[in-house]
Symmetry: C2
């Protein structure tokens, strides 16, 4: 028997319509690619968004068509989010930090009908436009006076398109499972894969992230999303802010500490979000000029584990509550946010601090579990670690155009590629990447734990632990170390350093000293390259393996 409630679909356009009707004079403030600060209201944003929908319709954009963006966080990007999805088309946010040929691949794979770009990216567009045969036109997100001089085919002016239209546009009603947005993940191997969000997933995700234990967003908030709108929809904030009537402050291209700090202060920002790196820039600027935050209260930090020292500084020196978050493009992206429960008020300060280092609890809608190599669920005891699987209405079922096949495990769980623990209170701690864990005789060894111990030795500059093929145990850990200049450090000394710190069978089977470790373009240790370098490495223990031997599992 079905219920008798109204059949009202969850649609992206309804978020902006709600903001217009009930928060019409609340502001959206943007630092622009052209330079000046732009300022208007949700009502004006909605009016321009309707003009934009008319303009795109006139250009021939149809429901289901993709419209690409190469843009900073700003009001025109916000208008594109709502106009494109609102008319039933798909907003495809492209990361302008990718290489031009990657961008051309993505725009081609998505078959973007048009691509809209901030003038900052005119040189990039000029370089790649010829390779994007499928794109019918390129829309510069600016007015006539600031149109780029670049040689771009079918170049259109955003403000001219809007000026030619009326604001009479009724948002159509359709199935809430209709695609609303597309975002490609840049995996370490293979081609980027597209995640195709729906109106339903986008609106549900927006609802849940506003809750008090999540971003705690309301009509009393002024939020500055530092995390880019080209990176998983700025973690959903451009949708959540109109839902609750929060003031939105967009930093545009000004992602340096000075520019961000200025906006925090002038726009009375009290909520923000971003990756650890940008907070380093802000803290550096503030320390240098002896500055304080006047209104900032809470920040969500994710994308990478936030260094404990940064949490401490923000907390203790600046009075900011830092919340660790974790998610991924495939999860829209929020999976967990760290918020202490009422009972944690009783913890000692150090225990509370340690709790805050975890990635947090899943928001309602996300379910998660950890499993071993055979897919068997592991206990939620904060100690067992395993592959992290997730499930929920804003988690990917398959990639755009079936790329990569069926990604799901039995039961419909999505494997995150992360390894972690879940404690009895539901707090997730990411301990490793699945591909970096060392699988020894059916048991798992955390590469990160072993690296952290090595890094604690005064003679070690940098350390990496990878799994190397072993005839008996499948894989055994190999420690690769860069010594500090002048350090006299031996293999035996390092192995002895592990004693008493981990179970005996976790001890690396060998140590190799190198001049340097391989890193990715973004400065991260490249274990992929390292594994490639050592793929034929003969462990000393491998030779002895003809004689059965059982490393004690203390």
């Amino acid at each position: 028997m079905l219920g008798l409630m109204m059949d009202e679909p969850l649609l992206v356009a309804s978020l902006l319509r709600h903001a217009d009707r009930y928060h019409g004079d609340t502001e959206i403030v943007s630092r622009t690619a052209e330079g000046p600060i732009h300022r208007y209201t949700y009502r004006q944003a909605h009016e321009r968004t309707r003009r934009l929908a008319n303009a795109l319709t006139r250009l021939g954009v149809k429901p289901g068509d993709r419209v690409g963006t190469l843009a900073w966080n700003g009001f025109r990007h916000f208008e594109l989010y709502f106009a494109v999805s609102g008319m039933g088309s798909v907003i495809h946010t492209i990361n302008p930090r990718l290489f031009p040929d990657q961008i051309a691949y993505i725009a081609g794979h998505a078959e973007d009908a048009y691509v809209c770009f901030d003038i900052t990216f005119a040189p990039l567009v000029e370089k790649m436009a010829a390779a994007c045969k499928v794109v019918k036109g390129w829309i510069a997100m600016t007015d006539r006076a600031h149109m780029p001089a670049a040689r771009i085919p079918n170049l259109l002016c955003y403000e001219e398109l809007l000026a030619a239209e009326s604001d009479g546009f009724d948002w159509p009603t359709f199935d809430e499972n209709t695609a609303s947005g597309l975002c490609y993940t840049s995996g370490t191997t293979g081609n980027p894969k597209g995640v195709l969000f729906s109106h339903r997933s986008t609106v549900l995700h927006a609802c849940v992230i506003t809750m008090p234990d999540a971003t705690d967003l309301s009509s009393r908030s002024s939020i500055l999303p530092i995390v880019p709108m080209f990176h998983v929809n700025a973690w959903g904030i451009p949708y959540a802010a109109p839902l609750v009537g929060a003031k939105l402050v967009f930093p545009g291209p000004g992602l340096d500490g000075a520019s961000l700090y200025e906006l925090f202060e002038t726009e009375k920002v009290n909520r923000s979000s971003g990756v650890p790196t940008v907070w380093l820039g802000i803290l550096h600027h503030m320390k240098q000029h002896n500055l304080r935050f006047s209104t900032l209260e809470k920040v969500v930090i994710g994308g990478a584990a936030c260094p404990p020292a940064m949490i401490r500084t923000l907390n203790e020196d600046y009075g900011i509550r830092v919340q660790h978050g974790w998610g991924m493009t495939e999860m829209s992206p929020i999976g967990t946010i760290n918020s202490p429960k009422l009972k944690h008020d009783a913890l000692a300060p150090q225990e509370r601090f340690e709790l805050s280092l975890k990635q947090g609890r899943p928001v309602f809608g996300v379910d998660m579990k950890i499993v071993d190599g055979e897919g068997k669920e592991l206990p939620r005891d904060g100690k067992a670690f395993g592959d992290l699987l997730v499930k929920g209405p804003w988690i990917v079922r398959e990639y755009f155009r079936g790329e990569g096949g069926n990604p799901l495990r039995p039961g419909g769980w999505f494997p995150t590629g992360d390894v972690g623990t879940i404690d009895p209170d539901g707090y997730l701690q990411i301990t490793d990447r699945s591909k970096d864990v060392i699988k020894s005789g059916g048991e798992w060894i955390s590469s990160i734990d072993l690296e952290n111990i090595a890094m604690g030795h005064p003679g070690v500059m940098e350390a990496a632990v990878i799994g190397v093929r072993h005839p008996k145990w499948d894989e055994r850990p190999l420690l690769v170390v860069v010594k500090k200049a002048g350090a006299l450090l031996t293999r035996e000394e390092l192995l002895a350093f592990y004693e008493g710190k981990v179970a005996k069978w976790w001890l690396p089977d060998d140590v190799v000293f190198v001049e340097q470790l391989p890193h990715t373009a973004t400065g991260k240790l490249s274990k992929l390259t390292l594994r490639e370098q050592f793929k034929d490495y003969a462990l000393p223990t491998a030779a002895a393996s003809a004689i059965p031997r059982d490393p004690a599992r203390a």
Copy 2:
């Protein structure tokens, strides 16, 4: 083109499963009908709820079947909410304050397979059981030791049913539009009509009411819903609390000031909700014993307009933030909640206080508009008042079994039966009931405004204004007054008292003095009866209406 997100339905059982997994040791505390305080955790509640689902299955309850309850707010009622809906059946909460024959009508109309009742209501069940042929059995929500001695056919013991079962029960997955709950509205005319909630509507409603501008519910909350679980699901709190991991405190039958205050204090309650009357009891008890709240921060008050003096007392004397709420059974029930925006911090205290008297802004998901007699939308200027229409995914589309036909207006809007204003910031103020408004020559006159003015006269004890038939103007206002003992008050004096306070054409056409006004069983003024009494009343202005005359519309 559809998105590629997981097809995970929004189901009621997932709320409790989430609480079990991520808030397993958070408490549910209940004052019981048997007397003692009962205390357990979400994990234990989930375990017993699975046993209950097995017990109901064994009794032959099938998906779609209705299971009735006559119960206070307590842990067994909570278990029934989740077991019955979770297995795909429909929890039908019955208001035990109705007359026995009304209850028998409702249970019969709903075709309840079983009815579960708190032992308090054994005498009531004994009285009506014979009239409920459709009910297969009556389950006393208690253990063997407390089983009522009443003569009830097919009487079963809740705790015995649970004890006989295992906790092995997997919540089935089904269409989120499946019916989950049923609640009858007791209209002033006609038979009660059933509102049939769905899993989707229940979960969406639960998400939205946890938001910071609504109840601000989180894992840091301890919430005591005073509003009964038999009255529109205690405003959704039993669903919202497990969603966020809030501690739940159930008052059971102890709705007097002393019992409630004790629970507030012992259970460190910081959130609550209820109708104005119960708060009167609490405040009376506190004043009498010179008590203070130690932990209570915020309360949502709805069901009836909260007297301004009560808001002031709670705010100023006790430091409690009072939020006006408005809704109805047909809306699951939350429509609006009053929360000031950031910009309202700039208001003077008196202006903020006046804002707090309004019913509040719609939560996301609810859209509303006011229309005139022809259905034309009226401006959102805080002055124009009209019929309030609403729309959203947790608002009724039609009543159970088509009772009363199609209730919707063109465009799918539900008419609330309330009349109100909406200001430019989206705040609703209820000014009247649609049927009480006086429709004079196509224009509307607020009966409540005219009554409030009369009540301001020192000689008036009670006043009511109703519309009386008029040959020219359709209706004109008639003022019916009970004088204070000894007051010498004339018709002319009262009419003169209105001058300068309202537009001339709003002036009552006549005044009638009576000994007393009719009231309903719950003490409310019964305008229905009054209109019946005065339906043939000849207004002095009616005689003159043969000669066209135009009351000045100042």
